[in-house]
Symmetry: C2
Subunit: 231 residues, 2 copies
């Protein structure tokens, strides 16, 4: 079986999703869904018919053959996979993520698809880790946009991440939003609080800090969100 062109894959994909939504697919639905003219659809259908991927008799409904359904499902799965990567992980808005996914779904090797699957599964495996990771990334993106406007964030600042073991600082502000910020505040890390860095473990490990007599563990990423001034 010869490889299908991107265009033909999109036709199959459209027939698949329309068949799920409504019961059957019709020429005008496909045309609408793909924003092409009906003659373009008819032309594509003839090619797909030739390749035994659809069943279609003149003026009748359109159905996928087993072979066609197999391929259509695959395209649809790739679409969804890429959508998840773009939307859920990279945080791209649904409309754009879906458009981009549908364009590149035809161009990736099976190796790459597999890896993306694994990458998503890797994060999925630990929902907490994923939530943490994606929210940190979101903060990072928002922080960047913020900095565009700010220009000078307040020159003399340094962050908890910049302290050396033993050094102290006083909290000015906690950057970031949502869970992260809330959690830090709950831990007693509010503006004015004095913090001493105890130790930093190597490779992805937490930093150990002393606040109000208590030991706390923070991730390095979090430490970078805590702005300090000299004590």
């Amino acid at each position: 079986m010869e490889a299908l062109t991107p265009s033909l894959e999109d036709y199959l994909e459209a027939i698949w999703t329309i068949s799920l939504r409504d019961k059957v697919a019709r020429v005008k639905d496909i045309a609408k869904s793909l924003r092409v003219s009906t003659p373009s659809v008819v032309n594509a259908l003839n090619v797909l018919l030739e390749k035994n991927l659809i069943k279609h008799e003149r003026y009748g409904y359109i159905e996928l053959t087993d072979q066609g359904a197999l391929k259509a499902k695959e395209v649809d799965e790739h679409h969804k996979l890429l959508f998840t990567l773009l939307n859920e992980i990279f945080g791209i808005n649904a409309g754009i993520a879906s458009k981009d996914a549908c364009k590149i779904e035809h161009h990736l090797s099976k190796e790459t698809i597999k890896r993306i699957e694994q990458f998503i599964q890797f994060l999925e495996e630990d929902q907490e880790e994923k939530a943490f990771f994606t929210s940190r990334f979101k903060d990072f993106v928002e922080k960047g946009e913020e900095d565009m406007g700010d220009k000078k964030v307040s020159k003399a600042d340094f962050t908890l991440r910049d302290l050396k073991p033993g050094e102290k600082g006083k909290v000015i502000k906690i950057k970031g939003k949502g869970n992260l910020k809330k959690r830090l505040l709950d831990m007693g890390i509010v503006p004015g609080t004095e913090i001493q860095l105890k130790k930093v473990a190597p490779l992805g490990d937490p930093v150990d800090i002393l606040v109000k007599g208590y030991h706390l563990s923070l991730r390095k990423g979090e430490a970078r969100d805590i702005l300090l001034e000299k004590v």
Copy 2:
């Protein structure tokens, strides 16, 4: 300026990289680089000339105009960006990563490109975090492939991650490779060691464990690599 087709973008990109490598670009080099015939190249060059993206006189060398260089550079940057994502972060081998990057580089919205840039920068910002993250993902991928062969990993096993606070287990094996494994072994976590889980913090935080009288912090991801049996 009308949008360029993927094909024309590839011609620009080829001219750009050839011009950097050698001093000038010639028809046969472009043909070789893109694996097309020389008449195909000539045809494309005429189109690019029409659009003021290259300078070219019959039988002479090919140069990019300022406008052409701008576009070529952009395509090349996107190519490199996507290559980094696929190769460095997802761990796809260079050959495939490059091919796939060159296919999809023409199809992504500027929003998506921007986000991928930010994602890479996000990991780049903290080399340790990145090393940890990518090595964990690598382990995850390798573990998956391993399980294909293994089939039954040894039925009664559970991992450190499965313990509840207060519960104990005895180390059977440490999965994963490289840094991670070495570090765990250095910490005294070897087969036969008895471990007690003390507490698990919410949201991306470490698990606190007691080994040989010492407290240690591990990330949840790491905890899942430590296979235990009942004490």
